[in-house]
Protein backbone atom coordinates (compact mmCIF):
# COMPACT_ATOMS: atom_id res chain seq x y z
CA UNK A 1 0.00 0.00 0.00
CA UNK A 2 1.19 3.51 -0.82
CA UNK A 3 0.52 5.94 2.01
CA UNK A 4 0.58 9.67 1.46
CA UNK A 5 0.50 12.02 4.46
CA UNK A 6 0.34 15.81 4.65
CA UNK A 7 1.59 16.20 1.11
CA UNK A 8 1.90 19.74 -0.11
CA UNK A 9 3.30 21.22 -3.31
CA UNK A 10 3.60 24.99 -3.62
CA UNK A 11 4.53 26.81 -6.80
CA UNK A 12 4.83 30.57 -7.14
CA UNK A 13 3.20 31.04 -3.71
CA UNK A 14 0.20 28.95 -4.78
CA UNK A 15 -0.60 25.56 -3.28
CA UNK A 16 -1.13 23.28 -6.24
CA UNK A 17 -1.42 20.04 -4.27
CA UNK A 18 -2.62 19.57 -0.73
CA UNK A 19 -3.33 16.00 0.36
CA UNK A 20 -3.62 15.44 4.12
CA UNK A 21 -4.09 11.67 3.66
CA UNK A 22 -4.33 9.24 0.79
CA UNK A 23 -3.96 5.47 0.80
CA UNK A 24 -3.50 3.61 -2.47
CA UNK A 25 -4.16 -0.11 -2.08
CA UNK A 26 -1.71 -2.47 -3.75
CA UNK A 27 -2.99 -4.29 -6.80
CA UNK A 28 -5.90 -1.89 -7.45
CA UNK A 29 -6.53 0.40 -10.42
CA UNK A 30 -6.96 4.10 -9.61
CA UNK A 31 -8.19 6.79 -11.96
CA UNK A 32 -7.49 10.47 -11.25
CA UNK A 33 -10.04 12.79 -12.78
CA UNK A 34 -10.44 16.55 -12.69
CA UNK A 35 -10.16 19.72 -14.74
CA UNK A 36 -6.86 21.09 -16.06
CA UNK A 37 -4.80 22.35 -13.14
CA UNK A 38 -6.62 20.20 -10.60
CA UNK A 39 -3.39 18.50 -9.51
CA UNK A 40 -3.55 15.16 -11.37
CA UNK A 41 -0.18 15.55 -13.09
CA UNK A 42 1.41 17.05 -9.97
CA UNK A 43 0.28 14.08 -7.87
CA UNK A 44 1.64 11.61 -10.42
CA UNK A 45 4.94 13.50 -10.70
CA UNK A 46 5.34 13.56 -6.93
CA UNK A 47 4.60 9.82 -6.75
CA UNK A 48 7.07 9.19 -9.59
CA UNK A 49 9.73 11.24 -7.83
CA UNK A 50 10.23 13.76 -10.61
CA UNK A 51 8.82 16.56 -8.46
CA UNK A 52 9.82 17.01 -4.84
CA UNK A 53 6.99 18.02 -2.52
CA UNK A 54 7.39 20.99 -0.22
CA UNK A 55 6.03 18.97 2.70
CA UNK A 56 4.68 15.57 3.55
CA UNK A 57 5.67 11.96 3.12
CA UNK A 58 5.06 9.03 0.79
CA UNK A 59 5.54 5.53 2.13
CA UNK A 60 5.42 2.15 0.47
CA UNK A 61 6.61 3.19 -2.97
CA UNK A 62 9.85 1.64 -4.22
CA UNK A 63 11.25 3.70 -7.14
CA UNK A 64 13.02 0.58 -8.50
CA UNK A 65 9.76 -1.24 -9.13
CA UNK A 66 7.82 1.78 -10.34
CA UNK A 67 7.17 2.74 -13.95
CA UNK A 68 5.99 6.19 -14.95
CA UNK A 69 4.69 7.54 -18.24
CA UNK A 70 4.73 11.35 -18.34
CA UNK A 71 2.07 13.35 -20.16
CA UNK A 72 4.44 14.09 -23.07
CA UNK A 73 6.88 11.19 -23.08
CA UNK A 74 10.10 11.76 -25.00
CA UNK A 75 10.70 9.49 -27.94
CA UNK A 76 14.32 9.36 -29.03
CA UNK A 77 15.43 9.94 -32.59
CA UNK A 78 16.33 6.24 -32.90
CA UNK A 79 14.29 3.44 -34.42
CA UNK A 80 11.06 2.40 -32.72
CA UNK A 81 12.68 -0.91 -31.69
CA UNK A 82 15.74 0.79 -30.19
CA UNK A 83 13.46 3.15 -28.28
CA UNK A 84 11.91 0.18 -26.50
CA UNK A 85 15.15 -1.80 -26.16
CA UNK A 86 16.86 1.09 -24.35
CA UNK A 87 14.53 0.59 -21.40
CA UNK A 88 15.57 -3.08 -21.19
CA UNK A 89 19.33 -2.76 -21.67
CA UNK A 90 20.32 -5.16 -18.90
CA UNK A 91 18.02 -7.93 -20.07
CA UNK A 92 19.42 -10.68 -22.31
CA UNK A 93 16.00 -10.94 -23.98
CA UNK A 94 15.67 -7.19 -24.54
CA UNK A 95 14.94 -7.35 -28.26
CA UNK A 96 12.42 -10.18 -27.92
CA UNK A 97 10.63 -8.43 -25.04
CA UNK A 98 10.62 -5.13 -26.92
CA UNK A 99 9.07 -6.78 -29.98
CA UNK A 100 6.41 -8.45 -27.84
CA UNK A 101 5.55 -5.11 -26.19
CA UNK A 102 5.34 -3.36 -29.57
CA UNK A 103 3.14 -6.16 -30.86
CA UNK A 104 0.71 -5.59 -28.00
CA UNK A 105 0.27 -1.89 -28.77
CA UNK A 106 0.01 -2.54 -32.50
CA UNK A 107 3.36 -0.97 -33.42
CA UNK A 108 5.32 -4.08 -34.44
CA UNK A 109 5.22 -3.10 -38.12
CA UNK A 110 6.97 0.21 -37.28
CA UNK A 111 10.11 -1.23 -35.67
CA UNK A 112 12.50 0.22 -38.28
CA UNK A 113 10.80 3.64 -38.40
CA UNK A 114 12.38 6.58 -36.64
CA UNK A 115 10.29 7.14 -33.51
CA UNK A 116 10.55 10.94 -33.59
CA UNK A 117 8.91 11.00 -37.03
CA UNK A 118 5.75 9.18 -35.87
CA UNK A 119 2.40 10.85 -35.27
CA UNK A 120 1.49 11.85 -31.71
CA UNK A 121 -0.72 8.80 -31.21
CA UNK A 122 1.87 6.38 -32.61
CA UNK A 123 4.63 7.92 -30.49
CA UNK A 124 2.43 7.58 -27.42
CA UNK A 125 1.93 3.88 -28.16
CA UNK A 126 5.68 3.40 -28.56
CA UNK A 127 6.25 5.16 -25.24
CA UNK A 128 3.66 2.91 -23.62
CA UNK A 129 5.25 -0.22 -25.12
CA UNK A 130 8.63 0.97 -23.79
CA UNK A 131 7.17 1.20 -20.30
CA UNK A 132 5.17 -2.03 -20.42
CA UNK A 133 8.06 -4.07 -21.82
CA UNK A 134 9.28 -4.35 -18.22
CA UNK A 135 7.37 -5.71 -15.20
CA UNK A 136 6.53 -2.97 -12.71
CA UNK A 137 4.78 -3.28 -9.36
CA UNK A 138 3.40 0.23 -9.60
CA UNK A 139 2.46 1.87 -12.86
CA UNK A 140 1.86 5.63 -12.98
CA UNK A 141 0.40 6.93 -16.23
CA UNK A 142 -0.34 10.55 -17.02
CA UNK A 143 -3.11 10.57 -19.62
CA UNK A 144 -1.85 7.45 -21.39
CA UNK A 145 -4.17 7.76 -24.39
CA UNK A 146 -4.52 11.54 -24.75
CA UNK A 147 -2.99 11.62 -28.26
CA UNK A 148 -4.81 8.62 -29.68
CA UNK A 149 -8.14 8.27 -31.50
CA UNK A 150 -11.07 6.23 -30.15
CA UNK A 151 -9.86 2.94 -31.65
CA UNK A 152 -6.36 3.52 -30.34
CA UNK A 153 -7.80 4.40 -26.94
CA UNK A 154 -9.71 1.09 -26.77
CA UNK A 155 -6.56 -0.81 -27.68
CA UNK A 156 -4.49 1.01 -25.06
CA UNK A 157 -7.09 0.37 -22.37
CA UNK A 158 -7.13 -3.33 -23.21
CA UNK A 159 -3.31 -3.48 -23.15
CA UNK A 160 -3.30 -1.81 -19.74
CA UNK A 161 -5.93 -4.16 -18.35
CA UNK A 162 -3.99 -7.20 -19.65
CA UNK A 163 -0.74 -5.85 -18.16
CA UNK A 164 -2.41 -5.17 -14.83
CA UNK A 165 -3.85 -8.67 -14.73
CA UNK A 166 -0.65 -10.48 -15.65
CA UNK A 167 1.61 -8.40 -13.37
CA UNK A 168 -0.80 -7.93 -10.45
CA UNK A 169 0.44 -4.33 -10.24
CA UNK A 170 -0.98 -1.14 -8.83
CA UNK A 171 -2.16 1.16 -11.58
CA UNK A 172 -2.62 4.90 -11.09
CA UNK A 173 -3.56 6.93 -14.14
CA UNK A 174 -4.96 10.35 -14.89
CA UNK A 175 -7.57 11.09 -17.50
CA UNK A 176 -9.80 13.90 -18.66
CA UNK A 177 -12.50 11.42 -19.44
CA UNK A 178 -14.73 10.06 -16.67
CA UNK A 179 -15.88 7.46 -19.22
CA UNK A 180 -12.33 6.15 -19.50
CA UNK A 181 -12.02 6.17 -15.72
CA UNK A 182 -15.18 4.07 -15.54
CA UNK A 183 -13.81 1.57 -18.05
CA UNK A 184 -10.30 1.33 -16.65
CA UNK A 185 -10.36 2.15 -12.93
CA UNK A 186 -11.71 0.35 -9.91
CA UNK A 187 -11.28 3.42 -7.73
CA UNK A 188 -11.67 7.03 -8.82
CA UNK A 189 -10.25 10.14 -7.19
CA UNK A 190 -11.78 13.48 -8.16
CA UNK A 191 -9.36 16.36 -7.67
CA UNK A 192 -10.07 20.08 -7.72
CA UNK A 193 -7.59 22.88 -6.98
CA UNK A 194 -5.05 20.37 -5.74
CA UNK A 195 -7.38 18.75 -3.23
CA UNK A 196 -9.31 15.50 -3.18
CA UNK A 197 -12.98 16.35 -3.40
CA UNK A 198 -14.28 12.81 -3.56
CA UNK A 199 -12.87 9.32 -3.73
CA UNK A 200 -14.60 5.99 -4.07
CA UNK A 201 -15.33 3.05 -6.27
CA UNK A 202 -15.49 4.01 -9.93
CA UNK A 203 -19.04 2.82 -10.35
CA UNK A 204 -20.35 4.62 -7.31
CA UNK A 205 -18.48 7.89 -7.76
CA UNK A 206 -19.15 8.28 -11.45
CA UNK A 207 -22.75 7.07 -11.49
CA UNK A 208 -23.94 8.65 -8.25
CA UNK A 209 -21.46 11.26 -7.01
CA UNK A 210 -22.06 12.54 -3.51
CA UNK A 211 -20.20 15.84 -3.57
CA UNK A 212 -21.83 18.75 -5.46
CA UNK A 213 -18.45 19.66 -7.01
CA UNK A 214 -18.07 16.15 -8.44
CA UNK A 215 -21.64 16.31 -9.76
CA UNK A 216 -20.94 19.69 -11.35
CA UNK A 217 -17.75 18.38 -13.01
CA UNK A 218 -19.51 15.30 -14.37
CA UNK A 219 -22.43 17.40 -15.62
CA UNK A 220 -20.06 19.77 -17.41
CA UNK A 221 -18.29 16.83 -18.95
CA UNK A 222 -21.61 15.31 -20.11
CA UNK A 223 -22.73 18.63 -21.64
CA UNK A 224 -19.38 18.93 -23.43
CA UNK A 225 -19.72 15.41 -24.78
CA UNK A 226 -23.27 16.10 -26.02
CA UNK A 227 -22.17 19.36 -27.64
CA UNK A 228 -19.24 17.63 -29.34
CA UNK A 229 -21.55 14.86 -30.48
CA UNK A 230 -24.20 17.18 -31.96
CA UNK A 231 -21.51 19.35 -33.60
Amino acid sequence: MIEIADLRVVMADRTILDLPRLAIQAGRRYGLIGENGSGKTTLLRVLAGTLLPDAGSIRGLDPRTMGYLPQSPYVFSFSVLRNVVLALQDSPTAEKDALAALEKVGMASFIRHRADRLSGGEAQRVALARLLAKAHQVLLLDEPSSATDIRGMDAIEQVLLDYWESNACTLVFSTHSPAQALRLAQEVIYLEDGQIVEMGSADELLRSPKHPKTRAFLNHWLIDQQNNHSA
Binding site: M66, Y74, F76
Partner: protein
Protein backbone atom coordinates in the same frame (compact mmCIF):
# COMPACT_ATOMS: atom_id res chain seq x y z
CA UNK B 1 40.75 38.10 -59.36
CA UNK B 2 40.76 34.32 -59.86
CA UNK B 3 44.20 34.58 -61.51
CA UNK B 4 45.44 36.57 -58.53
CA UNK B 5 44.12 33.98 -56.04
CA UNK B 6 45.56 31.08 -58.04
CA UNK B 7 48.89 32.88 -58.20
CA UNK B 8 48.82 33.47 -54.45
CA UNK B 9 48.05 29.80 -53.82
CA UNK B 10 50.39 28.21 -56.31
CA UNK B 11 52.88 30.98 -57.15
CA UNK B 12 56.51 31.17 -56.00
CA UNK B 13 55.81 33.36 -52.94
CA UNK B 14 55.07 31.07 -49.95
CA UNK B 15 53.67 33.83 -47.72
CA UNK B 16 50.01 33.47 -48.72
CA UNK B 17 50.04 29.67 -48.25
CA UNK B 18 51.72 30.17 -44.92
CA UNK B 19 49.07 32.71 -43.81
CA UNK B 20 46.26 30.30 -44.74
CA UNK B 21 48.05 27.44 -42.96
CA UNK B 22 48.53 29.46 -39.74
CA UNK B 23 44.89 30.59 -39.86
CA UNK B 24 43.57 27.06 -40.30
CA UNK B 25 45.93 25.60 -37.70
CA UNK B 26 44.95 28.23 -35.15
CA UNK B 27 41.20 28.04 -35.89
CA UNK B 28 41.04 24.23 -35.91
CA UNK B 29 43.02 23.86 -32.73
CA UNK B 30 41.15 26.57 -30.82
CA UNK B 31 37.81 25.12 -31.97
CA UNK B 32 38.89 21.65 -30.84
CA UNK B 33 39.93 22.86 -27.37
CA UNK B 34 36.82 25.05 -27.05
CA UNK B 35 34.62 22.10 -28.05
CA UNK B 36 36.27 19.78 -25.54
CA UNK B 37 35.69 22.38 -22.83
CA UNK B 38 32.45 23.98 -23.97
CA UNK B 39 30.26 21.03 -24.94
CA UNK B 40 30.63 19.07 -21.66
CA UNK B 41 30.21 22.31 -19.69
CA UNK B 42 27.11 23.20 -21.70
CA UNK B 43 25.66 19.72 -21.18
CA UNK B 44 26.30 19.92 -17.43
CA UNK B 45 24.67 23.34 -17.15
CA UNK B 46 21.77 22.54 -19.47
CA UNK B 47 20.94 19.06 -18.21
CA UNK B 48 21.03 19.76 -14.49
CA UNK B 49 19.06 21.91 -12.11
CA UNK B 50 21.10 23.57 -9.36
CA UNK B 51 20.75 26.64 -7.21
CA UNK B 52 23.49 28.67 -8.92
CA UNK B 53 22.22 27.85 -12.44
CA UNK B 54 20.71 31.30 -13.17
CA UNK B 55 23.95 32.97 -12.06
CA UNK B 56 26.12 30.55 -14.08
CA UNK B 57 23.90 31.03 -17.14
CA UNK B 58 24.14 34.83 -16.81
CA UNK B 59 27.90 34.57 -16.49
CA UNK B 60 28.15 32.41 -19.62
CA UNK B 61 25.84 34.81 -21.50
CA UNK B 62 28.04 37.73 -20.47
CA UNK B 63 31.21 35.93 -21.57
CA UNK B 64 29.53 35.06 -24.89
CA UNK B 65 29.46 38.76 -25.67
CA UNK B 66 32.98 39.58 -24.50
CA UNK B 67 34.61 41.97 -27.02
CA UNK B 68 37.56 40.21 -28.72
CA UNK B 69 39.96 43.02 -27.85
CA UNK B 70 39.07 42.66 -24.17
CA UNK B 71 39.70 38.89 -24.38
CA UNK B 72 42.93 39.64 -26.18
CA UNK B 73 43.94 42.17 -23.56
CA UNK B 74 43.36 39.65 -20.73
CA UNK B 75 45.54 37.04 -22.46
CA UNK B 76 48.13 39.70 -23.34
CA UNK B 77 48.39 40.77 -19.69
CA UNK B 78 48.61 37.14 -18.56
CA UNK B 79 51.32 36.24 -21.05
CA UNK B 80 53.31 39.48 -21.14
CA UNK B 81 56.78 39.39 -19.64
CA UNK B 82 55.61 40.93 -16.34
CA UNK B 83 52.37 38.86 -16.28
CA UNK B 84 51.75 35.76 -14.16
CA UNK B 85 52.41 33.44 -17.12
CA UNK B 86 55.18 35.55 -18.65
CA UNK B 87 57.83 32.94 -17.91
CA UNK B 88 56.19 30.60 -20.44
CA UNK B 89 57.24 33.01 -23.23
CA UNK B 90 54.06 32.36 -25.20
CA UNK B 91 53.26 35.92 -26.25
CA UNK B 92 53.38 36.43 -30.04
CA UNK B 93 53.04 32.72 -30.76
CA UNK B 94 50.25 30.68 -32.34
CA UNK B 95 49.69 29.11 -28.89
CA UNK B 96 48.88 32.56 -27.45
CA UNK B 97 46.43 33.11 -30.31
CA UNK B 98 44.79 29.77 -29.57
CA UNK B 99 44.51 30.64 -25.85
CA UNK B 100 42.85 33.96 -26.71
CA UNK B 101 40.44 32.29 -29.10
CA UNK B 102 39.59 29.55 -26.60
CA UNK B 103 38.73 32.31 -24.13
CA UNK B 104 36.36 33.85 -26.68
CA UNK B 105 34.85 30.72 -28.25
CA UNK B 106 34.39 28.44 -25.23
CA UNK B 107 31.61 30.59 -23.70
CA UNK B 108 29.86 30.69 -27.09
CA UNK B 109 29.93 26.90 -27.44
CA UNK B 110 29.01 26.45 -23.76
CA UNK B 111 26.08 28.87 -23.97
CA UNK B 112 24.69 27.46 -27.20
CA UNK B 113 25.12 23.84 -26.06
CA UNK B 114 23.52 24.63 -22.71
CA UNK B 115 20.52 26.26 -24.43
CA UNK B 116 20.01 23.29 -26.74
CA UNK B 117 20.34 20.77 -23.92
CA UNK B 118 18.07 22.67 -21.54
CA UNK B 119 15.24 22.54 -24.11
CA UNK B 120 15.31 18.73 -24.35
CA UNK B 121 16.72 17.70 -20.97
CA UNK B 122 13.61 18.05 -18.75
CA UNK B 123 11.52 15.81 -20.99
CA UNK B 124 14.34 13.27 -21.44
CA UNK B 125 15.05 13.31 -17.71
CA UNK B 126 11.40 12.70 -16.78
CA UNK B 127 10.97 9.96 -19.39
CA UNK B 128 14.20 8.17 -18.40
CA UNK B 129 13.34 8.47 -14.71
CA UNK B 130 9.99 6.83 -15.40
CA UNK B 131 11.78 4.00 -17.23
CA UNK B 132 14.36 3.50 -14.49
CA UNK B 133 17.27 4.51 -16.73
CA UNK B 134 20.26 5.52 -14.53
CA UNK B 135 21.51 9.16 -14.62
CA UNK B 136 24.75 8.35 -16.47
CA UNK B 137 22.96 6.72 -19.37
CA UNK B 138 20.31 9.47 -19.27
CA UNK B 139 23.04 12.06 -19.85
CA UNK B 140 24.45 10.02 -22.72
CA UNK B 141 21.03 9.86 -24.39
CA UNK B 142 20.67 13.63 -23.93
CA UNK B 143 24.02 14.16 -25.70
CA UNK B 144 22.99 11.77 -28.49
CA UNK B 145 19.71 13.62 -28.96
CA UNK B 146 21.56 16.92 -29.33
CA UNK B 147 24.23 15.57 -31.72
CA UNK B 148 23.10 17.51 -34.80
CA UNK B 149 22.81 20.91 -33.11
CA UNK B 150 26.18 20.23 -31.46
CA UNK B 151 27.83 19.83 -34.87
CA UNK B 152 26.29 23.12 -35.98
CA UNK B 153 27.49 24.79 -32.79
CA UNK B 154 31.06 23.54 -33.26
CA UNK B 155 31.09 24.73 -36.86
CA UNK B 156 29.71 28.10 -35.73
CA UNK B 157 32.61 28.22 -33.25
CA UNK B 158 35.06 27.51 -36.06
CA UNK B 159 33.45 30.26 -38.13
CA UNK B 160 33.96 32.67 -35.27
CA UNK B 161 37.58 31.52 -34.80
CA UNK B 162 38.58 31.95 -38.42
CA UNK B 163 37.00 35.41 -38.67
CA UNK B 164 38.42 36.80 -35.44
CA UNK B 165 40.94 39.63 -35.68
CA UNK B 166 41.15 41.80 -32.53
CA UNK B 167 42.44 39.32 -29.99
CA UNK B 168 44.63 37.51 -32.52
CA UNK B 169 46.29 40.78 -33.51
CA UNK B 170 46.95 41.69 -29.86
CA UNK B 171 48.50 38.43 -28.68
CA UNK B 172 49.90 37.18 -32.00
CA UNK B 173 51.44 40.41 -33.14
CA UNK B 174 50.83 39.70 -36.86
CA UNK B 175 54.41 38.50 -37.34
CA UNK B 176 55.28 37.53 -40.91
CA UNK B 177 55.78 33.77 -41.44
CA UNK B 178 54.89 33.16 -37.80
CA UNK B 179 51.59 34.52 -36.48
CA UNK B 180 50.09 36.33 -39.45
CA UNK B 181 46.55 35.14 -40.16
CA UNK B 182 44.17 35.99 -42.97
CA UNK B 183 42.25 38.55 -40.94
CA UNK B 184 45.34 40.32 -39.55
CA UNK B 185 46.91 40.26 -43.01
CA UNK B 186 43.75 41.79 -44.54
CA UNK B 187 43.84 44.56 -41.96
CA UNK B 188 47.52 45.24 -42.50
CA UNK B 189 47.34 45.16 -46.31
CA UNK B 190 44.32 47.51 -46.27
CA UNK B 191 46.13 49.93 -43.96
CA UNK B 192 49.09 49.87 -46.35
CA UNK B 193 46.85 50.44 -49.33
CA UNK B 194 47.52 47.01 -50.94
CA UNK B 195 43.93 46.22 -51.60
CA UNK B 196 44.66 43.47 -54.14
CA UNK B 197 46.00 41.04 -51.59
CA UNK B 198 43.42 42.14 -48.99
CA UNK B 199 40.55 41.43 -51.40
CA UNK B 200 42.06 38.08 -52.42
CA UNK B 201 42.42 37.07 -48.77
CA UNK B 202 38.86 38.22 -48.09
CA UNK B 203 37.67 36.12 -51.00
CA UNK B 204 39.41 33.02 -49.63
CA UNK B 205 37.87 33.68 -46.19
CA UNK B 206 34.45 33.89 -47.81
CA UNK B 207 35.02 30.58 -49.60
CA UNK B 208 35.99 28.91 -46.31
CA UNK B 209 32.94 30.42 -44.60
CA UNK B 210 30.72 29.24 -47.47
CA UNK B 211 32.20 25.74 -47.19
CA UNK B 212 31.48 25.65 -43.44
CA UNK B 213 27.90 26.81 -43.93
CA UNK B 214 27.38 24.27 -46.71
CA UNK B 215 28.66 21.55 -44.40
CA UNK B 216 26.21 22.59 -41.66
CA UNK B 217 23.31 22.54 -44.14
CA UNK B 218 24.44 19.19 -45.52
CA UNK B 219 24.42 17.64 -42.05
CA UNK B 220 21.03 19.15 -41.22
CA UNK B 221 19.53 18.04 -44.54
CA UNK B 222 20.86 14.51 -44.07
CA UNK B 223 19.35 14.40 -40.58
CA UNK B 224 15.98 15.56 -41.95
CA UNK B 225 16.08 12.93 -44.73
CA UNK B 226 17.16 9.91 -42.60
Amino acid sequence: MIDRILDLFFGPNPEFRQIVAVTLRMSLFSTLVSTLLGVPLGVLIGANEFRAKPLVSRLVDTLMGIPPVVGGLVVFLLLSRSGPLGSLKLLYTVTAMVIAQVLLITPIITGMASNIVSIRAPSIRETCHGLGIPPGRRLWYTILECRVPFISIVLAGFGRAIAEVGAVQMVGGNIQFKTRTMTTAIMMQSNMGYFDLAVALGFVLLIISFTINSLVHLIQDRERRD
